[in-house]
Amino acid sequence: MTSPLDRRALLSRGLILGAATMLSGCNYDDLQHPDMADRFLTGMSRWNDRVQAALFSEHRLAPTYPASAITRPPRFNAYYDIDQAPQVDPATWRLELTGRIADKRPWTLGQLRALPQESQITRFICVEGWRVVGQWSGVPLGQFLRRINADTKARYVSFQCADGYYESIDMPSALHPQTILALDFLGEPLTAPFGAPVRLRIPTKLGYKNPKSIVAMGVTNVFPSGYWVKQGYNWFGGS
């Protein structure tokens, strides 16, 4: 049994990260009013996006691991406490589709589960430097994008989450065979702290590029940014 205090200490890293963004000074403290350093760093970050896109290969797979390598217990991480993870009713949940997609009919969880599923045991690397190994399974995003007749020549795929988080990835990464809309984690349906009912699992990118509790997905040519990117993290976030 862990007391609320212990649990708090356990999760404090994510909170510290969130709180740190409120510090003053240059270095992305107020991106509504960027100073010269912010503008310089943003320019360099966009350049690094392009370098990472050039380094990325759709054929290069992230390493996979045996079941014995899975990290137990799994590590929760978010910018809020574990009991604040969004509770989504799987019965009424729908995946809304927006943007350059021909078939925009929303998807139910049952419909997604009826599609062919892929399983992977891959490494999840956080931008902070730690990593865990987990097992996820779900619908390969590339197959799903083709099924809904999305414009796979578009530049970005964006995700909106039940907790207000949002993220976006480049189309080549979205079409990578290991990029999946995960429904299961460690052989069980996703739980709220780990992104129920559907999360993105993309082992070729850092942890913050794996949005949880997705409620809407879009395909667009307009840069959709992301929750952390808006605060100064690099957008491509490749691994």
Partner: protein, 205 residues
């Protein structure tokens, strides 16, 4: 025939001070990145880090790395093409290093204007190697999937972080000695800014 030869030619001085900016930014921001998930039982104090928070530190780190890599590449090309490495950092023999080290530790080693003693030569080769090691291990930490061969070379993601940290520690040790020597022989500092002048006696060489 030139009228006088500077101790440190202009390209070297420019690259030296650009390198100071790059190295200080990389180490300061690297310490902040380290603090987000320390691999040793300590963190760097907040006054010593650059970036204020992880996102800022990463942004500085990945901006300064371009300066370090381009400047470092320019230095290696210039050092080879101009004969700087051959004239100033070679030859280097274990015997000379041993003798000079002994002389230095007994405070008998004289500073000769425009000439690096054997210990200095060894230290410069060492820090150049550490710089290359830091860049390669850093690339391995940055892209363990796309640059998997580098990641494998350093024994995977976790070991790459350790190698990267060790390379940084080695560079810091060099900087400590480097700055300490400047403090002991302060007249070498103006030469790195204004170029200095090789004394006539060694000019004939």
């Amino acid at each position: 025939m030139r009228r006088h030869r500077p101790i440190h030619p202009l390209p070297l001085r420019i690259m030296h001070w650009l390198n100071v900016i790059a190295i200080v930014t990389l180490i300061g921001s690297g310490w902040e990145i380290y603090n987000a998930s320390p691999i040793l039982p300590f963190s760097f104090p907040q006054w010593a880090v650059i970036g204020e928070w992880l996102g800022g530190a990463i942004a500085w780190h990945f901006a300064a790395i371009w300066l370090l890599m381009l400047n470092g590449l320019a230095y290696l090309i210039w050092g080879t093409a101009s004969g700087h490495f051959r004239r100033k950092l070679l030859p280097i023999t274990p015997r000379a290093v041993f003798d000079d080290l002994l002389a230095a530790l007994s405070l008998r080693l004289q500073h000769e204007e425009g000439v690096y003693n054997a210990v200095q030569r060894l230290l410069y080769w060492g820090v150049i190697s550490l710089g290359i090691l830091a860049v390669l291990s850093g690339l391995a930490v940055w892209k363990p999937v796309q640059l998997w061969y580098l990641s494998d070379l350093f024994g995977g993601f976790g070991f790459s972080r350790i190698v990267h940290f060790a390379a940084m520690s080695g560079i810091c040790a060099f900087l400590l000695i480097h700055v300490l020597l400047v403090a002991l022989v302060p007249r070498v500092l103006p030469a790195m800014i204004f170029g200095g002048r090789v004394p006539e006696t060694t000019h004939a060489e």
